[in-house]
């Protein structure tokens, strides 16, 4: 059974339907990319998984457990965390306090300390800036902090919503190589991107979302080679 599974999920904002029968499977250890243009419903999918909103129909299953109506704090405890769209740091808290908030659901002090060390190893920049107020970090540093903060929950599935958005190409490279590294260390990753090219290179598998509907799925390589994807998202 897949680690994370969405089955026929419909989600609404008021009367506007944002997701229509979305079915996604994420296997343990994978990097799964979710690509699609503006307003396709990628962020909505992640918000639904995290329990910030609940589907009107369909189910979300995690590790064999139905989490369709589970509250967000419990979902983090179970092992899903995310670095949300727009980073959403706590702007008036220090880098360290932001990281501690990431570990809010945990009580294992030694584990938290060692994960903090791991985050600083992935993002040495954060260690240099650890006492700085998050709102004053540069865009790239903020993205690193958002990812580090999500990692502090020690998730089984890490969800990243457009981690490369607005970053210089060289920083995008860094972010994607860190995604690989995080995955290699054993964390399953769900990667939402408009930068389809990069995302599909990193991903084992991908899903293409269009106006709330999954229109295509396949391995990263298949999708990269697919004509529709090339036309729509890779500008070829």
């Amino acid at each position: 059974m897949a680690l994370l599974e969405l089955e026929g999920v419909d989600a609404f904002y008021g009367r506007i339907q944002a997701l229509r029968g979305v079915t996604i499977k994420v296997e343990r250890g994978e990097v799964v990319a979710l690509i699609g243009s503006n307003g396709a419903g990628k962020t909505t999918t992640l918000r639904t998984i995290s329990g910030l909103m609940h589907p009107n129909s369909g189910t979300v299953t995690f590790d064999g457990q139905d989490i369709t109506r589970t509250r967000p704090s419990r979902i983090v405890e179970l092992g899903i965390s995310q670095s949300p769209e727009g980073r959403r740091l706590f702007p008036r808290m220090s880098v360290l306090d932001n990281l501690f908030m990431g570990a809010y659901s945990r009580n294992d002090k030694p584990g938290i300390t060692s994960d903090m060390a791991r985050v600083f190893q992935l993002f040495p920049r954060l260690q240099e800036r650890r006492t700085q107020i998050a709102g004053t970090l540069s865009g790239g540093e903020q993205q690193m902090l958002a990812m580090g903060r999500a990692l502090m929950a020690k998730p089984k599935v890490l969800m990243l919503d457009e981690p490369s958005l607005g970053l210089a190409p060289i920083l995008q490279e860094t972010i994607f190589s860190i995604v690989r590294e995080i995955n290699a260390q054993g964390t399953t990753v769900m990667l939402v991107e408009q930068n389809a090219n990069k995302a599909l290179e990193v991903a084992n598998r991908g899903y293409v979302l269009e106006s709330g509907v999954i229109v295509q799925t396949g391995s990263g390589r298949e999708l990269l080679a697919s004509e529709e994807v090339q036309k729509a998202y890779l500008g070829m």
Binding site: S50, G51, L52, R71, P72, S73, V76, E77, S81, Q82, P84, G86, R88, L89, F90, P91, R92, M93, D97, F100, M101, G102, Y104, S105, I133, G135, T136, R149, A150, A153
Partner: protein
């Protein structure tokens, strides 16, 4: 800096210079008023913190907060009535009564405020902002109504059980009760600062105030942090109510209306949502009220205070300290 900013600094600067001139020419009177202002300020600070914390976390101006303060005083005087206290002097029983009544009233008020949040504000959390605001005004009338029915429209006596010693130092008169008010205020504000900045729940409360969705994504139960905010705001307001009673020995059911508005002004002055700002704002407004009472005339004090409220809202809505870091 914009023009209104200059205006703000020029006004504050002028006030400070005028006061400094008074301090030099009539030091005795100045320090006498200063001490009174400080005691007022300590009480307003305790109440202002509740306004600012609640606004910070759910963007609600909790109009009922001033009445929570008053209700604290009412419950305080009632509980003190169960002890064999002696008024006008200080006995061991007075001390014991104080030591017991303070925390008990604070906890009761905390419980009441959590209940208020649960029944009156939480169901409206995703409603348009005006809805909880109107409910808060309703809750204010409700609490005043409860006190009215309970103890009537007249003023209620609050026992005078603090030590009565007082001193003249260089012509300035002050008593144990002045020191008591300022010290208790300072201790409570310091405890709050430690709680907010050092503890996990305190940090989670700040995180919820800064970004509610992000806080949920960290696994923070925002119902819990919001309830904690109301609880702590009420602990401070309850303490403020007892302190007020011990200082003036007279309370009445509408006390929270006026002092609540003044404390709210203090919160706005310090930057609504800003915790250190509310503490400083409380002191500034307390001192302003005292100086206005004696240098301008007490009939003008309300005009001065609410003039400040309007001035800050119009020209500097982020308050004295403002928000030094962009919100999002």
């Amino acid at each position: 800096m914009s023009l209104p900013d200059y205006g703000f600094y020029i006004l504050c600067g002028t006030a400070v210079i005028l006061l400094a001139a008074q301090a030099v020419t009539h030091p005795t009177q100045f320090f006498q008023v200063f001490i009174f202002g400080l005691t007022q300020g300590a009480i307003y600070a305790l109440v202002a913190l509740g306004y600012t914390m609640v606004y910070g976390i759910i963007e609600l101006i909790n109009f009922a907060h001033g009445d929570v303060f008053t209700l604290g005083a009412y419950i305080g005087t009632t509980l003190l009535g169960f002890f064999a206290i002696t008024e006008g002097t200080f006995t061991a029983i007075n001390l014991i009564a104080l030591i017991i009544v303070f925390p008990v009233v604070m906890l009761i008020m905390g419980g009441i405020n959590i209940t208020i949040e649960r029944v009156a504000y939480r169901p409206l959390r995703n409603a348009p902002r005006l809805a909880p605001l109107i409910t808060a005004i309703g809750m204010s009338f409700f609490l005043e109504g409860v006190m009215f029915l309970w103890r009537g429209p007249a003023t209620v006596h609050f026992p005078d059980i603090l030590p009565t010693q007082s001193w003249y130092v260089a012509g300035v008169f002050f008593g144990v009760r002045d020191i008591f008010v300022v010290v208790v205020g300072a201790v409570l504000v310091s405890l709050l600062a430690v709680f907010i900045n050092q503890t996990k729940l305190g940090k989670a409360m700040r995180a919820t105030a800064q970004d509610r969705d992000a806080a949920q994504l960290m696994g923070i139960d925002i119902n819990r942090t919001i309830a904690a905010t109301f609880f702590i705001g009420a602990l401070l307001a309850g303490a403020g109510g007892i302190i007020w009673g011990l200082y003036y020995n007279t309370i009445y059911y509408q006390l929270g209306f006026r002092s609540g508005l003044i404390a709210f002004t203090a919160a706005v002055f310090g930057g609504i949502g800003n915790i250190p700002g509310a503490a400083i704002g409380g002191l500034v407004i307390g001192l302003t009220a005292a100086f206005s009472d004696s240098y301008i005339g007490s009939k003008w004090t309300q005009v001065v205070i609410f003039g400040i409220l309007i001035g800050v809202l119009v020209f500097r809505p982020t308050g004295l300290l403002g928000m030094r870091v962009p919100e999002k």
